[in-house]
């Protein structure tokens, strides 16, 4: 079982330390997105990278639409990886949707986690009567359309080529490398699970201390969302990073590393 999980989620373990530090990628990507961050932690931590089932180089055959129809199934991936590696007191670093996946995993199994580091998180992306998430449902439908259009070459025309050319695995690899997803339908499901999620009610159940890293000018999660999270998550710290976009670990890796190290240094002493 343990070995299956490690293969299923394409788990990679490295680093010279003993304190486990698990990096969880967001929607649209795979574990390779952490490559600008991990060198800074290799010396002092045991680093764990993985791909959610359906993303990156995970085992696509393990994808079950029911399980991954909401974030809970993804949270189970995290818990199963921790169990397979027999980890405890894990420092969890999640990007975007993975922050909430980490929150859910920590509620399931609080003893597994020591810290939750949430990079540009949002507990709910869609505007509600008393909450500004940043998006309307129509925006998310627009995203699904854009994905369809961009996956069209892969989904409609290339996919059959891959199936008909098992001797040319590079065709599949090319697809994986382009959108970090081997299957357009799975990407669509992940988009829905991400952007239709509402985990606001879960925040108060978090027992693990959290660091929330918010951008001053985030393209996806407005600053108000960071403030909402901070206010509603017990034992949380909010840090604002002067940057725009939604991928500070790609656009501002050093600043992101500094904030995390600073926080961990503070909590370790």
């Amino acid at each position: 079982m343990a070995q299956n999980v490690l293969e299923r989620n394409n788990v990679k373990v490295f680093g010279n330390g003993t304190q486990p530090l698990i990096f969880a990628h967001g929607f649209g990507c795979g574990q390779n997105m952490w490559r600008f961050m991990t060198p800074a932690f290799e010396e002092n931590y045991q680093i764990i990278l993985f791909d959610y089932v359906g993303s990156g180089k995970s085992d696509i055959k393990a994808y079950k639409p029911e399980r991954y129809s909401n974030l809970d199934g993804y949270a189970r991936d995290i818990v199963e990886i921790c169990d397979a590696l027999d980890l405890q007191d894990v420092i969890f670093v999640g990007h975007s949707v993975s922050s909430m996946i980490g929150v859910l995993a920590s509620i399931k199994r609080p003893e597994l986690f020591r810290e939750l580091i949430q990079i540009v998180p949002s507990p709910c992306y869609i505007n509600q009567a008393d909450y500004l998430g940043g998006f309307d449902r129509a925006d998310i439908d627009g995203l699904l359309d854009l994905m369809d259009k961009n996956y069209i070459a892969w989904a409609n025309f290339l996919a059959p080529v891959i199936m008909k050319n098992p001797d040319r695995p590079e065709l599949g690899q090319e697809l994986e490398e382009s959108f970090c997803s081997t299957d357009p339908l799975i990407a669509r499901h992940f988009a829905k699970a991400t952007f239709y999620s509402d985990n606001r009610a879960d925040l108060s159940k978090v027992k693990t201390p959290s660091l929330i890293i918010q951008l001053t000018d985030d393209a996806i999660a407005p600053v108000a969302v960071g403030e909402f999270l901070h206010k509603n998550t017990p034992n949380s710290t909010l840090r604002l990073l002067e940057a725009s976009g939604h991928c500070p670990h790609l656009s501002h890796p050093q600043e992101t590393i500094n904030i995390i190290k600073d926080y961990l240094g503070g909590v370790q002493t």
């Binding site: 649209g28 439908d141 991928c247």
Partner: protein
């Protein structure tokens, strides 16, 4: 920027990892409706829809940063006036004196975008049609097997031993009823196949729709009686159309038996014929289970049935209304369905061009 690039027949811009424009060519400024002096204020986010922004942050930028380039990404840009400009974008990263910049070329693709939308739509429709056909095949197999099982079962019983007269009659009745049911199903399938291949033939003559309705009512009356359904008619003295009497009979029979099927015991079914503005309007109204607003637009589509739970409660292939509409349209008429909602009854109205009595 040199003149060649500035006026090249494609948009070109350089942006940093925060999305801020560092350089832009005149072609793109023209496309987006901005002036060169505004360069300092130009930011990628300004030109992307909300959905485009999410796509950029979750796909475009990570890909560009991790692989150093992106090719053939579809984006929809917004011009200053709000016009949507579908573009294909290619981008590469460049190290300039220790700082990374992203060079991006965009080509507007209005017509191709339209074709791609149509392709995607056609693909989705084709996939949905295939699914519906698969469902239809399983319904057909199920529906054909049910009467067949009854026929085979009773035949075996008859062969096994000598039964008393009453039981024998009962057995033969069931066999006959099952065979007739199967015949109707097969006729529907054959009609449907004829419609699809454009081979449904009609014998045109002058037909009095009042007579057609009266005949159809006679045929369905026993079924209505069994369910104690009150079957009412309100018919004008006559109403002539030019058409195939047996096909028109089929239309009325389909509508009436549908109404009886979906109306609970003790309900009402009313048939009306009125002559209105050179048209014969025939309506069949019931106070049965009605049609949800969601399903109403699809009620005449082939291979469509209300849902599986209904399919289980009511037998049938769900082809009847598709065939009915086709026959009505072959007669130059129209048919529409109305229902205030589930459990609130339904009305089907057929309009056929009237021919005056000679």
């Amino acid at each position: 920027m040199d003149e060649l690039l500035n006026n090249a027949p494609c948009g070109f811009f350089v942006f940093d990892d925060d999305g801020k424009f560092v350089e832009v060519n005149q072609t793109l400024l023209n496309l987006l409706g901005y002036e060169r002096r505004e360069l300092g204020e130009l930011h990628l986010e300004k030109f992307l829809s909300v959905a485009g922004r999410i796509f950029y942050e979750t796909h475009f930028f990570p890909l560009l940063k991790l692989h150093g380039k992106v090719t053939e990404i579809y984006l929809s840009l917004h011009s200053r006036t709000g016009e949507e400009i579908p573009v294909l974008a290619n981008a590469v990263r460049h190290d300039r004196e220790g700082v990374f910049y992203n060079d991006c070329v965009v080509v507007a693709m209005y017509r191709r975008n339209q074709f791609e939308d149509e392709l995607l739509k056609a693909k989705k429709e084709a996939e949905a049609a295939t699914l519906a056909k698969d469902d239809f095949l399983s319904v057909v197999s199920h529906e054909l097997r049910t009467p067949l099982n009854a026929i085979l079962g009773w035949t075996q019983i008859l062969q096994g031993k000598v039964l008393d007269v009453r039981t024998t009659k009962h057995a033969v009745d069931i066999i006959e009823r099952s065979a007739k049911a199967q015949k109707f199903l097969i006729e529907d399938i054959l009609d449907f196949a004829r419609i699809t291949s454009g081979k449904l033939t009609m014998e045109i003559q002058r037909v009095n729709m009042v007579k057609i309705i009266e005949n159809a009512v006679d045929i369905v009356a026993p079924a209505a009686n069994t369910k104690e359904i009150h079957l009412q008619t309100e018919l004008d003295s006559n109403g002539f159309v030019s058409g195939d009497s047996s096909r028109l009979q089929q239309v009325l029979w389909n509508l009436l038996s549908n109404s009886i099927k979906f109306t609970p015991n003790g309900g009402n079914v009313q048939v009306k014929l009125e002559r209105l503005n050179s048209n014969i309007e025939i309506s069949v109204q019931d106070n049965g289970q009605g049609i949800s607003a969601e399903f109403l637009p699809h009620v005449f589509e082939r291979f469509r049935q209300i849902d599986n739970s209904t399919t289980k409660r009511h037998s049938g292939l769900g082809l009847g209304l598709a065939i009915t509409r086709h026959i009505v349209e072959l007669h130059g008429g129209t048919i529409n369905a109305e229902s205030p909602g589930e459990n609130l009854g339904a009305t089907f109205t057929v309009n056929l061009p009237e021919i005056k009595r000679i």
